[in-house]
Symmetry: C2
Subunit: 266 residues, 2 copies
């Protein structure tokens, strides 16, 4: 394109907005599907629809990668798949280690979605010696003691934490110490890591809570358009006596060890 402008839109090396990066995988998935159907080209409108976004947004997102489209025609599917894959770094191999082989770790180990994108489950680890040694998804679970060695030998670059919440920070510390700078955390805890280390979190219970919020809003707005019921307009923090009652909705026998239950996405 080269608009001859002083500064090139070249966000190339740096500057691709986070929001855009988060959507690229979405476009890639849609493009891959098109590719398999043998579709040669797509317009921003079609691709946007397939990815569930606004077409203007899609065009702007793609423009950060470069001018890979043809006006009046659209985008070459294969070419775009390649460009996005490269931008996301999927053209290389990413050995992943899953730490914590409980319900979730077990499920992830068997999840096919990983291998299909350049991600390779290189190792499964667990602190429980009863678990270590078991064969899961064709791999032998290793013990946490070997973590550093495994990371080094297999060149693991991404760590997936699926341990119970209390153990997560410790595991993260060891991963970081071992040189890992990217962590996907499923444990319901806030991980503290040194600068330069990336942590992304997946939390099922948070997603459900957000849904509950909207669901509640929907049901309370639909029937009676009237304002909220909230009469507590005059209840200073002096009477916390009412509060406690809620903390435990379901009588799940003192579970709240601080979200101690299985890590699970939740």
């Amino acid at each position: 394109m080269a608009t001859g402008r002083t500064e090139r839109p070249a966000h190339r090396g740096r500057g691709i907005p986070e929001a855009t990066v988060a959507r690229l995988p979405l476009y890639l998935r849609a493009l891959t599907a098109l590719s398999e159907r043998g579709v040669p080209t797509v317009s921003s409108e079609e691709l946007a629809a397939a990815a569930g976004v606004n077409s203007a947004k899609l065009r702007k997102d793609l423009s950060y990668l470069g001018s890979y489209g043809t006006r009046g025609v659209g985008y070459d599917v294969e070419y775009l798949v390649y460009q996005i894959s490269r931008e996301l770094g999927l053209t290389q191999d990413w050995p992943v280690a899953i730490i914590g082989i409980g319900n979730l770790g077990h499920a992830l180990a068997n999840y096919g979605g990983f291998a299909s994108r350049g991600f390779r489950v290189a190792a499964l680890l667990d602190a429980d010696r009863a678990v270590a040694g078991q064969r899961i998804a064709g791999m032998v679970v290793r013990h946490m003691d070997d973590l550093e060695q495994i990371v080094r030998d297999d060149g693991v670059s991404i760590g997936v934490i699926t341990t119970p919440a209390p153990a997560a920070q410790g595991v993260a510390d060891r991963l970081v110490a071992a040189g890992i700078t990217s962590i996907l955390n499923f444990a319901p805890t806030v991980l503290t890591v040194p600068e330069g280390v990336d942590v992304r979190k997946v939390d099922l219970s948070i997603e459900l809570q957000i849904l509950a919020f909207h669901e509640q809003r929907k049901s309370s707005t639909e029937p009676a358009p009237g304002p909220a019921p909230v009469p507590a307009a005059v209840t200073p923090a002096v009477s916390p006596a009412v509060a406690p009652a809620v903390t435990r909705p379901t009588a799940s026998g003192g579970d709240l060890g601080g979200d101690l239950p299985e890590v699970m996405p939740a």
Copy 2:
């Protein structure tokens, strides 16, 4: 602002920013932990640290709920736990149905964290009659045929889809037809639902791809702390002549890396 401040922030009925709603569960978790440790009050600074956010942001977030703090002191933990729980709708019971009892569905069914927040797994469903009938997590898996009836009888309000991607849309359609307006989708597909229905998506593969993007960037920027970021940025693609020609960068080894990532998800 414009809103004549009669008595309260009045963001009550509507208007709590999405970004804030998404963080409330985080605060709630941190507060619950404090509560269990018997801590009576917290300052925005402490709570922010525990939740991993900026204190100013936390104060602003909480201010949308009302003025529940005490200047010079902080927030009453119990009281705040109650207020946030109520705002999120966690003071009521939310029956959840999990559709698709594969690895992930199985793991979720066994996850204990559900009950701790007002969510109750009311039913497990699967399209495979070999799966239906099995006992998982103390429940008998039902067949998809009974979906509508189960939703009605148990008052299910939230559906969790953990089926393979191809089946997701069909399941979503049935859930919506059955009256469900909140869906948590784990299948790697874009679900199309009528307005008024909320869909939240959790995609492990996307999270990994985002991590890969940053990881790649890190390794290519690390060596040179100075300016020059990515030298390997490939040709500026300024020459439009290149793009069209590369319609098939496949085997013929195009101008770039030469290796086409055979990426495809499940």
